[in-house]
C-alpha cells in the first residue's frame, strides 16, 4: 500500500488488529471551534498522573499573573497560572483526591513579563529541552508524561507526529490540524533542526480529508517539505503509539521497550504545537483544545480551554445538559474513565469530555462465562491474549499474567467491544495492572532495603575487623617495646 506525499513514497505496513470505524460509537463530524469565557475560578490539582505532588510556589492571598509559575517538582514539569487573579486556597475539593491550588480570576487576564528572549538566538538541544521543561509541557495525547523525557535520548532518526485521533469521538487534534497547521509544522521544524533529525512523518487518519488539505496547503505555503504528511487507515486505535509506529515504519516496539530504543520519537501534534508556542510566542502551556461531545450536551464544541477551567463551565458554554445525559466521561467513549463530578477541572491531559446520552450507551448484557472463542485475540492491537490474561488475573496468578505481558495492555477496549460473553475485560486488566505495579514497586523497595541491610552488615564486619586489627597492633607494639627494653637491659 502506498500513499503519495509530495513526490516521496512512504510505504505503509500491515496494520495491526483493532476495530473498523463501523464497529465504533458514531462520530459527529467536526464540531466548531470556540473559546469559552474566563471562568470565576481556576483549579489546578497538585497531584500529577504519576503520583507526584507538585510543590506550590505561591501563598494563599498572593496575586498572580497569567503565565506565572504556580507549582513545580524536580521530576515533573511545572504548572503555570492560566489567567491573572488571586490565589484563593490550597484546599482539597470534596470529591477529588489530594490538594488543589485555586485561583480566583480578576478578569484582567494580565500576562507575566518574561525575561526570556524568544525565540532564543542560539537553539542547542539543551536550551530547547530546558525551555520545553520550563514551559511545563507534558504529552497532550492523554498520558501526560514529561515531553523532555522522550526527546532526551541521543540518536533520534525519525520524529513521528501523532495526528491520528485514538478516540473515535475526540476531534481536538483534527481541529488543531485544520485550524492551526502552521503551529504544528513550525514546532516540528524546530525539533528537526535542533536535534538534527533526519525524517519527520505526520500521521493522520485516511478519512480526515480536511486535515489533509489544510496540512498540504500549509506545507505548500511555507515551501518547507521536511515534514511528510502520511495517511494511515482509519482503524481504532490508529493513534496508539505502538500501533502507529508499526503502521508507519513496520517496526514493532517490544513489550516493556520504548520507541526511543528504535531511534523513534512519537509526539502528539498538540504537544508539538505547544513547543512552538513556548519557543516562538514565549507562552507556557496554559491552554489546550478539548473536545466536548456526546448526546448529553446541546451543542458539541472543540473548545480552546484555559487549564484549570471547571468542566461544568464548559458544559454551560455548550448549552448545558440535555435530558438524555447519563454519563460524564473524560477521555472519550472507548478509553475514557467516568468522572465523579463536573466540578473537576481541565488538566494538561484532558482531550475529550464525553457526555453520554441514554441512546448512546449500550446496555451491556449480564456477564457470562468465557467460551474461549478467541475473538478478543483477533482484535487486540497490542498482540496480547486477552482471554488468557483474564483467566490468570482472575485467579491471581501474577507470574503468568506478567509472562503474558499484562503491562503492555493499552486498555483500548477492543476486546470488551467484541466479547460475546460481555466480560468486562478492560476493567479486570486495569485492576490487575495497578496491583502488578504496586507489587513491583514493593518488590523494588524490598530489594533496595535488602541491599542496604547487607551493606550495613558488611560495614559492621569491616569495622569490627578494623577494631581487632588495631587492638592486635597495639598489643604487638607493647610487646615490641618490652622486647627492646629487655635487650637494652641485657646489653647494659
Amino acid at each position: 500500500m502506498f500513499r503519495q506525499t509530495k513526490g516521496k513514497m512512504v510505504p505503509l505496513h500491515r496494520h495491526h488488529n483493532g476495530l473498523a470505524p463501523a464497529d465504533l460509537p458514531g462520530s459527529s463530524g467536526l464540531p466548531p471551534l470556540a473559546i469559552p469565557p474566563l471562568p470565576r475560578h481556576l483549579l489546578f490539582p497538585l497531584i500529577q498522573s504519576r503520583g507526584m505532588t507538585l510543590i506550590p510556589r505561591v501563598e494563599p492571598g498572593q496575586p498572580v499573573l497569567k503565565g506565572q509559575l504556580l507549582a513545580e517538582h524536580p521530576d515533573h514539569p511545572p504548572q503555570h497560572a492560566s489567567s491573572s487573579g488571586v490565589v484563593a486556597t490550597l484546599d482539597s475539593l470534596p470529591l477529588a483526591t489530594g490538594p488543589y491550588l485555586v485561583i480566583t480570576t480578576d478578569g484582567r487576564d494580565m500576562p507575566v513579563v518574561s525575561h526570556l528572549v524568544n525565540p532564543p538566538p542560539v537553539l542547542t538541544p539543551k536550551i530547547l529541552l530546558d525551555r520545553i521543561w520550563q514551559a511545563g509541557i507534558t504529552g497532550l495525547g492523554g498520558a501526560g508524561f514529561p515531553t523532555t523525557g522522550k526527546l532526551d535520548s541521543a540518536g533520534i532518526d525519525t520524529l513521528i507526529l501523532n495526528g491520528a485521533e485514538c478516540e473515535p469521538l475526540s476531534s481536538c487534534d483534527q481541529t488543531l490540524l485544520v485550524r492551526f497547521p502552521h503551529r504544528v509544522l513550525a514546532g516540528a521544524r524546530l525539533l528537526l533542526t535542533t536535534f538534527n533529525i533526519r525524517r519527520c512523518l505526520l500521521a493522520i487518519e485516511a478519512d480526515k480529508t480536511a486535515s489533509w488539505d489544510a496540512l498540504n496547503a500549509a506545507v505548500a505555503c511555507s515551501g518547507d517539505h521536511s515534514v511528510q504528511i502520511v495517511r494511515v487507515p482509519a482503524r481504532y486505535p490508529a493513534g496508539g503509539e505502538k500501533q502507529l509506529i508499526q503502521a508507519l515504519t513496520g517496526m514493532e516496539v517490544p513489550h516493556g521497550g520504548h520507541p526511543q530504543n528504535l531511534g523513534l520519537v512519537c509526539l502528539n501534534v498538540a504537544t508539538v504545537a505547544a513547543i512552538h508556542d513556548a519557543i516562538h510566542w514565549n507562552s507556557p502551556l496554559i491552554s489546550r483544545l478539548v473536545t466536548l461531545t456526546g448526546q448529553g450536551i446541546r451543542q458539541p464544541y472543540n473548545l480552546w480551554v484555559r487549564l484549570g477551567t471547571p468542566i461544568s463551565e464548559l458544559i454551560k458554554y455548550c448549552g448545558g445538559y440535555t435530558g438524555e445525559a447519563v454519563r460524564l466521561v473524560q477521555g472519550g467513549a472507548m478509553m475514557g474513565y467516568p468522572l465523579a463530578s463536573d466540578q473537576l477541572p481541565v488538566t494538561k491531559s484532558t482531550h475529550c469530555i464525553w457526555v453520554g446520552g441514554s441512546s448512546e450507551t449500550v446496555e451491556v448484557g449480564p456477564e457470562q462465562p468465557c467460551i474461549r472463542c478467541g475473538t478478543c485475540v483477533d482484535v487486540c492491537p497490542a498482540g496480547l491474549l486477552p482471554q488468557e490474561l483474564y483467566r490468570h488475573t482472575k485467579a491471581g496468578q501474577r507470574e503468568q499474567a506478567m509472562a503474558l505481558h499484562l503491562a503492555a495492555c493499552i486498555e483500548c477496549g477492543c476486546c470488551d467491544a467484541v466479547c460475546p460473553s460481555h466480560i468486562p475485560l478492560v476493567r479486570q486488566f486495569q485492576t490487575a495492572k495497578r496491583q502488578q505495579a504496586e507489587w513491583l514497586a514493593a518488590q523494588n523497595r524490598a530489594n533496595h532495603a535488602k541491599t542496604r541491610y547487607q551493606a550495613r552488615l558488611a560495614r559492621k564486619a569491616r569495622e569490627e575487623q578494623a577494631q581487632q586489627d588495631s587492638a592486635r597492633r597495639g598489643k604487638e607494639a607493647i610487646q615490641d617495646a618490652l622486647a627492646r627494653l629487655k635487650t637494652r637491659r641485657g646489653s647494659g
Binding site: G51, M52, T53, A442, R445, A446, N447, H448, A449, K450, R452, Y453, Q454, A455, R456, L457, R459
Partner: protein, 169 residues
C-alpha cells in the same frame, strides 16, 4: 550379551565418577533455599520475628528452626507464599512478638534531637544520617518503617508519619 552388560556397567561407572567430581569441584549453591525464602520476605528488617533481620529469619526457616508465620509486616500473604514455596501447610499469623506497626516513615524532630547516635546504631538500613552531638535526620526514601529507631531515642523525638506526608513517592 556379556559385552552389552559390561558396556552398561562401564557407562554407569564413568557417569557416576563424572557426577561425583562435578559435585566436588563445581561451586555449590547451598544458599539457594535461603535466597528464595529471603526473596519472599518484605525486607523491612524490623526483627519482629525474633531474628535480627529478614535474612537471619530466612536462614532459620531453611534450617527448620523457625515457623513460617512470624513476619507481621508481610502479613498472611507472606505466610501463604512461604507455605507454597516450602510445600508446607499454611497457618495463621503469629502476632505475639508483633508491635503495632504503622507502615510509615520515621521522622526526627530536628529541633529536639540531641545527637546521641542511638537511632543511627539501631537503623538496620543506615537510613539515618548524623554524627555525635550533631542533629540527625532520616532519609525518607531509604526508611523501611521498621520503627527500630523509635524506642532507643532518649528524648522521644522520632515519630512515624504516613509516607505521603513525608514526601516519599
Amino acid at each position: 550379551m556379556l559385552f552389552t552388560l559390561s558396556l552398561l556397567f562401564l557407562l554407569a561407572f564413568v557417569s557416576g565418577v563424572v557426577l561425583d567430581l562435578l559435585t566436588r569441584y563445581l561451586p555449590q549453591s547451598t544458599d539457594t533455599l535461603v535466597e528464595r525464602i529471603d526473596a519472599v520476605l518484605p525486607q523491612i528488617q524490623c526483627a519482629q520475628c525474633g531474628y535480627p533481620g529478614c535474612r537471619p529469619y530466612a536462614r532459620a526457616i531453611a534450617a527448620n528452626e523457625a515457623d513460617i508465620n512470624r513476619c507481621p509486616p508481610g502479613g498472611q500473604d507472606t505466610v501463604e507464599a512461604l507455605a507454597r514455596l516450602l510445600g508446607a501447610d499454611s497457618k495463621p499469623l503469629d502476632l505475639h512478638r508483633a508491635t503495632a506497626m504503622t507502615g510509615g516513615v520515621a521522622v526526627i524532630d530536628e529541633a529536639r534531637c540531641i545527637g546521641c547516635t542511638l537511632c543511627i546504631q539501631a537503623c538496620p538500613v543506615d537510613a539515618i544520617v548524623g554524627a555525635s552531638r550533631y542533629m540527625h535526620t532520616v532519609i525518607a526514601t531509604e526508611c523501611t518503617g521498621c520503627e527500630l529507631c523509635v524506642a532507643p531515642c532518649p528524648v522521644d523525638c522520632i515519630v512515624m508519619q504516613a509516607p505521603s506526608q513525608s514526601g516519599r513517592i
